[in-house]
Symmetry: C2
Subunit: 341 residues, 2 copies
DNA sequence: ATCAGTTATGGGATCGTTCCCATAGTGGGA
DNA sequence: TCCCACTATGGGAACGATCCCATAACTGAT
């Protein structure tokens, strides 16, 4: 195979440390794992030897003997969407604090990739997994379930896969937005939902529709897109706003979609919130840094990640055997992108 | 330790497959690795057995025998900053396509964390590392160098650590912004740079100062912050804009800082770009989705990640032995946040 | 008939670690 | 004095994979 200078990266093993410290590998192991009897003298020699060559025990060999790998996987649709970037960040940081190493797996909503990632994670003998897949299929994840690998679902329950879930009530969040707009006098309300197959987005749409229905209303249009980015929201809104009669308000099922929609309005010379109210969902940092500042439903993104890590940690420690559904609070944050009609 | 129901997650081993397929583990290994002689009959039986229990070879055991781990590490300051989120995403995706599993390590600019992560990566016997540390210290990374672990620096060279670097000319980018503002007639130009110790940010400041100096100018103020987020930019700009005389233009060393500054201006009733021009750096997606749309220096974030992966792949394959410095192109993107004075 | 090369299969050493077990010295209680 | 508990240390078998080597059947050339 590949020629070239070979990197002789061997980083010493326990035997070498034993030689350096003039003792046996058993004693070295006892020092490293801090169990069993070791004299102060040997301990010191071993610690010196370890430091002298910057030795790090081979993690693979350890798990081979049956120790937990202290590796975990996080499966989510993407990393370059602010919401998921923040989520991944909080998860990774929380695991680090617990001494776990995290595999962040960006599945791009593709079943093939999910399957490939699950295989890789199994090969690494991960101790647990957090899944934030937004699609409905559970097939790619069943191998994890079949091996009883502790698993926490984020963003939406995954019945049949795991009984532990950390999420928000997306349906309720949808109602908050619709009620807010109704209270402001809006009757012609459109919805932009993207990506189309995302369960949380569907729930938000359903919630909004339910609240509208309570007032004998229904959305003048529900526009679906396929991507989760600003451009998608903009394109969908542009189309929407060119129809007549024009809606007086738009609900975006994410801040990204809503901010995209704001720019569609600007392009068309429509004043927000004067002629058109726009509201989003998530409360990403950018939501309060657009003009007009975006009215949105705030979800505690970081807390969701931290709670999920906490739950997974409990499962991995065998402290959690029951089904648990953590539902974190949502809050309507009224800013400047919505106004009375 | 932790009690509770034990997860009996053993996922079969090569011996079990051998039994199921009525052959030896040697033959199973040959099928899995697709080398040596195997009859069609045995191959089929083995493949069936593998599928039947969804077997995945233990990655740790493999590397124990000397195979590459196909694990790589990426060290960067954070994941919840759009720029790094996009960078991490493109790196992770590119590695996945090459069959590598990525450890994304969010170091929070802390030396302790960097050190801890490096230790964990060494324990996992990673094949290579991409480092995007913005700080100047190289100490935490020397253990990687000492083991000859292939390493690519991103965003800035890391002399003494690695000779392979993928970056942009931040100094030049700084000059682009200054020249643009000077051409528009600005003379009172302030700079907001955050986080303070980031090498790329410093280079951008230096570039801007150099271009100003060419016209006998110097920045009316350089404000430094510690965080890389919208709030930091906003706070710095608020302070800056309350002084008299007020600058007529602000250069942010990142889009994040610049967008923050725009909101400081709004808070103070200053019109952008009428009374104040603001320009950023990076061209994150949000830059074209604020109002007014942000003038900025565009860097090819995804390409940087992909190129770094390509270079690391070459190093890991032994195909790259020389020093290589990839400098990717920058481009000034003039939008609506800057105007003639 | 002999030999070499190809195809096919299985045994067993090895990688780095943990942990059980054997060994052995020491000190204190009966 | 004997015995046990405690302290301390080292040897060696596992874990799951790879891969070298031995074995053996078969082909075709000499």
């Amino acid at each position: 195979m590949s020629a070239g200078k070979k990197f002789e990266a061997m980083s010493g093993n326990i035997k070498k440390i034993a030689e350096l410290a003039q003792t046996s590998k058993s004693s070295v192991s006892r020092v490293i794992n801090n169990n069993g009897y070791v004299s102060a003298d040997v301990r010191e020699r071993v610690e010196k030897a370890i430091a002298s060559i910057n030795y790090h025990p081979n993690a693979g060999a350890r798990t081979l003997r049956g120790s937990p790998s202290r590796l975990v996987g996080v499966l989510l649709p993407s990393l370059d969407v602010p919401f998921f970037g923040i989520l991944a960040h909080s998860i990774e940081q929380a695991f680090f604090a617990l001494g776990y190493q995290t595999f962040i797996c960006s599945t791009a909503e593709s079943q093939d990739r999910e399957q490939a990632y699950v295989g890789m994670l199994l090969a690494q003998r991960i101790d647990g997994v957090i899944v934030a897949s937004s699609r409905q299929e559970v097939d790619p994840f069943t191998p994890l379930r079949d091996r009883n690998i502790p698993m926490v679902a984020i963003d939406r329950p995954m019945p049949g896969l795991t009984d532990v879930c950390v999420h928000v009530d997306n349906h309720y969040g949808g109602t908050l937005l619709a009620k807010h707009l109704i209270e402001l006098g809006h009757r012609e309300i459109a919805i932009i939902s993207t990506p189309r197959h995302s369960e949380p987005m569907i729930q938000r749409v359903n919630g909004a529709c339910a609240a509208l229905a309570e007032h004998g209303l229904k959305p003048v249009q529900i526009a679906y897109g396929n991507e989760h980015n600003l451009g998608a929201g903009r394109r969908l809104a542009t189309k929407l706003l060119q129809k007549t009669p024009r809606p007086t308000a738009i609900i975006g099922t994410s801040d990204t979609a809503a901010i995209g929609a704001m720019h569609a309005a600007v392009d068309l010379g429509i004043n927000v919130p004067g002629d058109l109210s726009i509201a989003g969902f998530d409360d990403i940092p950018e939501a309060s840094y657009v003009l007009p500042r975006l009215t949105t439903v705030s979800q505690p993104t970081r807390k969701i990640g931290e709670r999920a890590v906490h739950r997974l940690h409990q499962m991995m420690s065998g402290e959690l055997e029951l089904a648990v559904e953590d539902r974190l609070p949502l809050k309507l944050v009224v800013r400047q992108s919505t106004a009375k009609i």
